[in-house]
Symmetry: C2
Subunit: 141 residues, 2 copies
Amino acid sequence: MWTRATPFAPAGTKLDTEEGQRLTPTFDANGLIPAIAQDASSGEVLMLAWMNAEALARTIDTGEAWYWSRSRRKFWRKGESSGHVQQVVEISIDCDQDAILLKVQQTGPACHTSRRSCFYRSVRRADDGSLTLIFNGSSGA
Amino acid sequence: MWTRATPFAPAGTKLDTEEGQRLTPTFDANGLIPAIAQDASSGEVLMLAWMNAEALARTIDTGEAWYWSRSRRKFWRKGESSGHVQQVVEISIDCDQDAILLKVQQTGPACHTSRRSCFYRSVRRADDGSLTLIFNGSSGA
């Protein structure tokens, strides 16, 4: 049972936020912050998901990636049902402290479609301006 | 002057969205989708910003990264004032088509603080649970 109280202080000045050493994440109107998961070894971007304050705190405290599922409205320890857990190597935050970057050791595929990364299609634009999604051969599990 | 009408079809079934070749991005309640910019050469994650449908269309059509500035409430061609443009090498979309990944050739620093990446601080957790942000030496401009 995880019990820690939400530990994040409110943001200070713009200078504090950008150049300070205090973690003061800004959550959106729904209490969420986007979190990018990147493969710590290959650098591949695996997925983008959402955290609320407690999911971020759990991730920091446990060293495993926790998210908030917007569709299921519940905490979600990545891999809790699939076994495809993310061991967190590094947690970074951006200049204005409203986005998170996790470097992770990903067990198995990150995507629920069984692909290594969720970003398995890229946009191709034809000369007439029409758009098609092309599957990336390199993103297989 | 950029004039193209918003070109994106509405999402179809879950199967269409995840396994189809049609670009049907989902924008949030504010009409926005998060976009990750990643250095095409090094794999470094440079920033996370937001696009509305027209910013995404402009990015696809021009090959330069366009975003929507939430704070200034205007379109923002990355580098338009700083010269630090992003030439787009590849645009990917995730499984449920609600996040964008750009692989870019970044001219100069991506961050307005003159650092290469906006993710220049990582979270350090002391044994007593206290948190500090540590500046990454490797993220200098």
